[in-house]
Amino acid sequence: MKAGSNLEKVLRDGRFAVTAEIGPPKSASAESVRRHAEEMRGCADAFNLTDNQTAMARMSSIASAVVLIEEGLEPVIQMTCRDRNRIAMQSDILGASALGIKNVLCISGDHQTFGNQKEAKNVYDVDSIQELMILRKMRDEGRVWSGEELEVAPRLFLGAAANPFADPFEFRVARLAKKVRAGADFVQTQSIFDMERFERWMELVRVRGLHEDVHILAGVLPLKSHRVALYMKNRVSGMLVPDAIVERMKAAKDPKEEGVRICVEQIEHLRSIEGVHGVHIMAPMWEERVPEIVRRAKLRPDARIE
Amino acid sequence: MKIIGYVCSHAGYAAADLAGEERLQYSPDIILIRLPCAGRIDVVHLLKAFREGADMLFVAGCLEGNCHHHYGNHEARKRVDQAKSILDALGMDGRRIEMFYLASNQGWKFKEIADEMMRRASELGPNPLEAKG
């Protein structure tokens, strides 16, 4: 065991993992984190805390994760390359580890021009793959990147993001391979709507045998409305939403119910794909619906940490 | 009023000649400076003329797609737009300068341009520098 986290155990045991996303609040009160924890308790093996998602300043993912631990749930913290250089990254990891955080998702982060403080100076001292390399070195060698020894090494289960829907398509699998070589233990994908392309990608993943080296968690996102579907299709870069899904959402009498139904169908389908070891459910501002999705998709995660 | 038209030889100037042949009357406040092509006009010429008291300026070149020098009229339009934005920035109203396209056989159109500039001049009033003396 690299970190001994619940998520790591579930994946190691070959059980189908479930993670769900919690967006930290734009608030100095952690009340909403506690509320979401209550709503989703028992629904997932671990909960992702986003790191200033879409480049909007929010409560830090590490602080939110500590709240979650207090509530008895297991966090996965996200850490972007946008907001900290390698020094801050390593320091934050040491602190997070000391506070009991074991799962870290390494991502480059949305460009600050998407956020509410576009004029901010971005950092990008390292990219997401280099972040993995640094964190792995800390864990495996007990050293900071420059080589200096740590008294106590952090125990980490390292995650990375993968987007099968971005371009150039041919390079996407090679990039996943690089992430695996850089140290990724698990991978969360971008929200999947275009199942056909995802399956093509998985095929290439299996050709390279990557599904045996890394746990792939397929990302799903329940659509709330036709408008959200259109927004995802047209405005979110790196997202492919087939017309059929947009049409279904448009035609639906109860779009929210339809969104949940589509999501459940997707989870059922994803479960049947060789190499998919779990799902990652993203329901930003709609966290309360996650338990229903988990129940209807017949996922049976063995909820809590000790 | 003092209005200068920077006109290309091939269309603007020739059209004014034709307006003359046809005895189409327009205001003597309009004076033409002949250029080989509207594309010869430079922003500096236009700014200088305003500083020397011109109330209005215009540039006239060949019809679009029909410039004797192929795209001199488009070049001229860009200069006029640049001058407009400078005038606007200085609070002098970019409408004091305009770009027109016409053909050498359109004497009537030259008169229309002359009349339009006069109309605009009376709307915008004299060059604000005049008020300063």
Binding site: S108, H111, T113, N122, Y124, V126, A162, P168, S237 | A89
Partner: protein, 231 residues
């Protein structure tokens, strides 16, 4: 070349408030070629300032001069007489030019009329694209001749982020994804293998992070004796 863009006219006028004898100066080098600060632009700016002054009764005296290369002392010295007659110098050369003037003439106010932007190249007439970030440690041999440091919005070194779609960057659809271009360049060169390499965190010391950079060419440096000998 160095790419710059003139500051808005109102901003320049506002900086000049309180001054009277104004020298507008440009440069015949990069900024002339990127159409921002050559003699033509000096003429337009000077004329605009005169018009501004006349309109507001400011009595400004505006003179014009375009230096050969405003980053070199020898050329900037040519300004001596004009600077002596001025109480403000507006430089529409790059920031280097403005600083060289200030260094040589510490008594006069030097005001930047131009925003120096980047090191780039004309893409097509009138369009200039940033091409080089001056990181001090070039990686073009690994990236098919396309710089990921500045042409990728995130300066990624190990491939495109998840926002790359249809060859465009996530920050905007008129920004090409550098990594898409790198991929195709290496594909053409038959060197896609280079993309499989893990590029470790970059040494930014030769870049801005190492403080102001100073390049020394020993063979051209003059010793104290040589300096004395040559006066």
């Amino acid at each position: 070349m160095i790419i710059g863009e003139q500051k808005p006219l109102q901003e320049i006028c506002a900086m000049l408030e309180g001054h009277q004898r104004i020298l507008v100066t440009g440069c015949r080098s990069c900024v002339a070629i990127c159409l921002a600060g050559g003699e033509k632009e000096v003429g337009i700016l000077a004329e605009s300032l005169r018009l501004h002054s006349d309109l507001r009764g400011r009595d400004w005296e505006v003179t014009e001069f375009t230096t050969e290369r405003q980053c070199e002392k020898e050329w900037v010295r040519e300004l001596s007489d004009l600077v002596a007659k001025s109480d403000a110098v507006v430089s529409i050369a790059c920031g280097v030019g403005a600083q060289t003037i200030q260094a040589l003439f510490p008594e006069v106010r030097v005001l930047p009329g131009l925003n120096t932007s980047n090191m780039g190249a004309p893409e097509e007439p009138g369009v200039f694209m940033e091409k080089c970030g001056g990181c001090g440690d070039c990686v073009l041999h690994l990236t098919g001749g396309i710089c990921p440091i500045v042409r990728c919005a995130k300066g990624m070194l190990n491939g495109p982020c998840g926002g790359s779609q249809n060859g465009k960057c996530e920050i905007g659809h008129d920004t090409p994804c550098a990594w898409e271009e790198i991929y195709h360049s290496l594909e053409r060169l038959g060197r896609l293998d280079l993309l499989e390499e893990l590029i470790p965190p970059k040494n930014w010391l030769p870049s801005r992070s190492g403080g102001p950079r100073r390049i020394v060419r020993p063979e051209a440096v003059l010793t104290r004796e040589e300096k004395e000998m040559r006066g």
